[in-house]
């Protein structure tokens, strides 16, 4: 057992804590001890915490009044801005609708100008031809041209449907202007990437979770936000297809019961990351038979084995990687021959996989080509998610990032 108060390590640690420069060798000694000695690691961590707590307490004694005053100002401002936004939202929505209508009016005016110009030109050309050939003007080609030229105007004149009803729709309308892409095109508003997290109440491991622990879904949402996504959290019984179409990626939480999901999601081109084994088979990423196509790992484990470290889905990890802070029993799946196999568990049969994916168009065991990128990952319940360590989150980040980079 290392006692940091009586060794050279204590000197190194306290110098490090005091902000002194250590040599490369000294930093190496500190790092080696930290990696190898559990007692030293714990003591350093506790000392680090106490140092921080003492500094925070001292800062409170010096500046508590100022800090509290700033906090109260912020709260009043937040309260005012919340009320302001609540009042402003309906006006923004109607303003966006009016702006859209105004843009349509402007486009109609431009189309009318174009039509008038081309019609005049056609009439003039007809007159010239009639004069030259002494034949009556026959302008079917001109009419076709007119029809072609006025086609964009017809698109613009088509009713845009109901007014926008949410802030995101307001932003969407503003960003899209008058050009609408295919329905399955992801919507990127000012480089904001959108993710849909589909959740439910099907996770018994989260039922006893207190608010301060946060549920697995809370963690997933936070992680997606940290990846830079604007996250829409929707439950399976809400209409989510429209949100899904506009997203770069859909993440199916383990809390969702796939029986409540629309089958249409399976064939949508939006990339999907599935975290629970029932979703694997529902999406056709594995067969449906328990113990043949899906099953439990034989033992609880903290580590996974990266099968192909060159894959972007491997997040730069290789070999056996600790992904959990505590041992977990996971569920494996048997992916099809066209899958990208990323991670399995130590001692697993060759066909068992914990993390696998399909490129868009790759044939899945469900018998259909994947409609978009599909990833299956081993985060089968909220407790597993809460126990995910940093390398595990790296794998999650890589899975979501890879899926979202799918080009439609």
């Amino acid at each position: 057992m290392t006692d940091i108060s009586s060794t050279r390590l204590a000197d190194l640690w306290t110098r490090q804590l005091a902000g002194e420069d250590l040599t490369g060798d000294e930093r190496g000694v500190l790092a080696d001890a930290f990696a190898a000695d559990e007692v030293f690691r714990r003591r350093v961590l506790h000392d680090h915490h106490l140092e921080g707590a003492l500094r925070a307490e001292a800062s409170l004694q010096r500046q508590q009044d100022r800090q509290l005053a700033a906090m109260q100002q912020l709260l009043r401002a937040a309260s005012r801005s919340d009320r302001f936004i609540a009042r402003l939202r309906p006006r923004l929505e109607s303003a966006a609708y009016a702006r859209q209508s105004g843009a349509e009016r402007a486009e109609r005016h431009r189309a009318w100008t174009r039509r008038t110009f081309f019609a005049s030109a056609a009439v003039a050309a007809g007159l010239v031809i009639a004069l030259v050939s002494m034949r009556p003007a026959g302008p079917p080609a001109s009419r076709e041209t007119l029809a072609r030229r006025s086609a964009p105007a017809r698109v613009a004149q088509a009713p845009a449907g109901a007014p926008a009803t949410t802030a995101s729709q307001v932003a969407g309308i503003a960003a899209r202007g008058q050009s609408r892409g295919p329905l399955d095109s992801p919507l990127v508003v000012n480089d904001v990437r959108r993710a849909v997290l589909v959740t439910g109440a099907d996770d018994t491991h989260d039922a006893q979770t207190t608010l301060d622990q946060g549920t697995g879904d809370d963690r997933l949402r936070t992680q997606l936000e940290q990846l830079g996504f604007e996250v829409a959290v929707l439950s399976a019984d809400e209409p989510l297809l429209e949100e899904a179409r506009r997203a770069q990626v859909v993440v199916l939480s383990p809390s969702v019961a796939t029986r409540n999901l629309s089958e249409e999601l399976v064939t949508m081109a939006v990339p999907i990351v599935a975290l629970e084994s029932s979703a694997f088979s529902w999406l056709g990423l594995t067969g449906p038979a328990w113990t043949r196509d899906l099953g439990h790992t034989p033992a609880q484990l903290t580590d996974v084995v990266i099968e192909d470290s060159t894959q972007p889905l491997a997040a730069g990890l290789s070999g056996q990687v600790p992904v959990f802070s505590r041992r977990q029993r996971l569920r494996w799946g048997v992916p099809g021959p066209h899958a990208i196999q990323v991670a399995t568990y130590p001692g697993a049969p060759a066909q068992h996989s914990l993390l696998f994916a399909y490129e868009r168009g790759a044939l899945t065991p469900g018998g259909s080509p994947a409609a978009g990128r599909r990833v299956a990952m081993f985060l089968g319940n909220g407790r597993i998610i809460r126990r995910l360590a940093v390398p595990g989150w790296r794998l999650f980040d890589a899975a979501v990032t890879w899926a979202a980079e799918d080009t439609r």
Binding site: I4, S5, A10, D11, W13, T14, R15, Q16, L17, A18, R27, G28, A31, F34, A35, R41, V44, L45, H46, D47, H48, H49, L50, E51, G52, A53, L54, R55, A56, E57, A58, S59, L60, Q61, R62, Q64, Q67, L68, M71, Q72, L74, L75, R76, A78, S79, D82, T210, L211, D212, Q213, G214, D218, T222, Q226, S325, R386, R387, L388, A389, V390
Partner: protein
């Protein structure tokens, strides 16, 4: 204050705050800000970030009031938000600053994340260094140690300056501070143990 039970005045303030009474929530902030600040400070040493995180915790709490379950003690709920906010901050640091840091700093940052994640999973209500325990233990320090705390932490005097004044080496002052922190840690543990045993 017993964390398991929200006392009557706090309950009344909470009820008013849930109805949108900013002044009531400000009073709750005044009551709990020091504990949250010290809790966060134990994990996040960047003082600039600490100000932002503390404000963020109370803003999240303010906006999350309607979701607060009655059975959950308010301070425990705040600590939970603070823990998650600190975790987000540290995970971001681990991810963003991985290049350019030495191996020890990298491991220390990851160990801090793991520590908070483990704290999140514990069912025993362990919530790090509590301000009340810290204050009580600071009060029980011998006078020389108390003076060292005051000079170094409160007045912000450097180790070199303290060493020069006391004609000691900087190393011995650093060791004295280390021993002092270890004594505080043991005191806080004993206090927590006696509280959980009573």
């Amino acid at each position: 204050m017993d964390d398991a039970v929200t006392d009557a005045s706090e309950k009344s303030l909470l009820e008013r705050a849930v109805q949108g009474d900013v002044e009531a929530f400000s009073e709750l902030v005044r009551m709990h800000y020091p504990a949250i600040r010290v809790y966060l400070g134990a994990h996040v040493h960047d003082q600039g970030a600490l100000d932002d995180l503390a404000q963020d915790v109370f803003l999240r709490a303010f906006r999350g009031l309607p979701t607060l379950r009655h059975a959950v003690a308010f301070r425990g709920w705040l600590i939970g938000i603070a823990r998650n906010r600190a975790l987000e901050h540290l995970r971001e640091l681990v991810r963003r600053d991985a290049i350019g840091r030495d191996r020890f700093q990298e491991m220390l940052a990851e160990a801090q994340v793991a520590f908070l994640e483990a704290e999140n999973q514990d069912d025993d209500g362990r919530i790090g260094i509590e301000l009340a325990a810290l204050k009580q233990c600071l009060g029980s320090l011998p006078s020389a140690s108390a003076r060292l705390v005051e000079e170094h932490y409160l007045k912000g005097r450097s180790i070199v300056s303290l060493a020069a004044e006391s004609r000691r080496s900087a190393g011995s002052v650093r060791m004295a501070l280390l021993r002092l922190r270890e004594a505080l840690r043991d005191c806080i543990r004993r206090r927590n143990a006696s509280e959980s045993g009573s």
